[in-house]
Symmetry: C2
Subunit: 251 residues, 2 copies
Amino acid sequence: MSRSESRDDVRRRREEIRDLRRQMRQSRHELRRMGSRGQPEESRAAILRAVAIEFSEQGIAGARTDAIARAAKVNKALLYYYFQDKETLYGAVLDEAFGRMKLAIFQVLDSSLPSSEKIVAYVGAYFDFIASNPIYPRLMQREMMRARAGDSVHIERLVKSYFEPIYHRVSELLHKGIREGVFRKVDPAHFVPSMIATIVFYFSSAPVMRRLFHFDPLTPERIAERRAAVLDFISAALFKPCSSANPGVRQ
Amino acid sequence: MSRSESRDDVRRRREEIRDLRRQMRQSRHELRRMGSRGQPEESRAAILRAVAIEFSEQGIAGARTDAIARAAKVNKALLYYYFQDKETLYGAVLDEAFGRMKLAIFQVLDSSLPSSEKIVAYVGAYFDFIASNPIYPRLMQREMMRARAGDSVHIERLVKSYFEPIYHRVSELLHKGIREGVFRKVDPAHFVPSMIATIVFYFSSAPVMRRLFHFDPLTPERIAERRAAVLDFISAALFKPCSSANPGVRQ
DNA sequence: ATTATCTAACTAACTGGTTAATTAACAATG
DNA sequence: CATTGTTAATTAACCAGTTAGTTAGATAAT
């Protein structure tokens, strides 16, 4: 008897709690996105945004689907309604980020500037993209590390779709400049990685810089300073010395 | 009666199993590390070695203590016998790796070479250290990412103990070379990161390179080629053009 | 009524860390 | 020189907490 009573007690309490929760939710969200048919596009986009941040900061292994759902203000099951699994989710974010990067870069590479100016524009554009999309280099780093461990199902696609096309165009550009006599005789297969390194490293090592220099390396002023330094560094390494074709930026 | 018999049975079987295990272990390890008081130093070292590999490949969140124990051929509880927790384990590995790096670098910085040769020697030494200790840049990358997410308890110590001393010495070296008129007027706060970037990036992006160029970028020949390219790149960016003091390496 | 959209609650598997027991070496003791 | 006790090294088995992914519905628009 007392047993069945306590069971009833539990059920009653549970229902009370459910009602209370419903009220809370209603008052908190003010009726927004209750039940179904809220704004699906918005939800999907919110998920991708949250995933990008979570993955770039914590990595795949460290990323928590609950945290993602909370950040996107969406139930966790919705992640699996829109995407197959964690891995697919990650892939979607990568394609989104790298796609935008490719677009920004090709805008410059497709322009009709002289070689020396175009390479400077390319470096500048890449720098600017990273400066205003800081999660891009983070995702790239993460993915490269996963690829080394042999755990990346995305790397092949990413290289074919994004890196290879860009690399080929920049490589051509370098060869052209060398033929024209404005660039030193560098090997694109090494020079391109060196350029990217110089551009990217400052951002990925910002936490170290902050502690080494005792100031925030990511303020707009510092970033502008770095931009100039990067262009100077690369220009000095690429342009023929004692030549008149040096539009390099100095401070 | 049958009960006591079965109990005896169990005891006998247990002893048999124990003997068998002992034999197995003996034959496998040839008497090494049996039972207790084997070689604690060896066990500790084996753990650290395994941790270094596991952490550099999987990161802290992805690293599995079970996998580490298996790789070190040691029981998991032994990890916690020697180290407080996962985090402490990671810290020990970081200090070991960064300590050796600092040693190798200071050996060059303490030498009495002229500025231009010393900076080349520094870059070469750093490159060589990374080339033969590939887990170092991986650990560094991991830790920088954790630091950005605010999850690193080690970064402060690492910067103070390893990066700061090295940075200051290289910075002095650059200033000296500039005063002497052999180096261009570069800002060490930007030039040093750019150098490190050029040195490190090739290794951390090897998985992309492999797919981009369709060959292994980490063979001794390719690494030697890269070394030359890095020295050329940095030399060209640092040494005054049209000056006689360019010992830069070309292919 | 159907369908697209959304949720709370659940589960099976896994993971960092703990515990109590076991083993070997060694020193002291009888 | 055997026995005993002590201590450091090592382990199997376990546990409490977490996590990716699932399920059984609920809600609203059509």
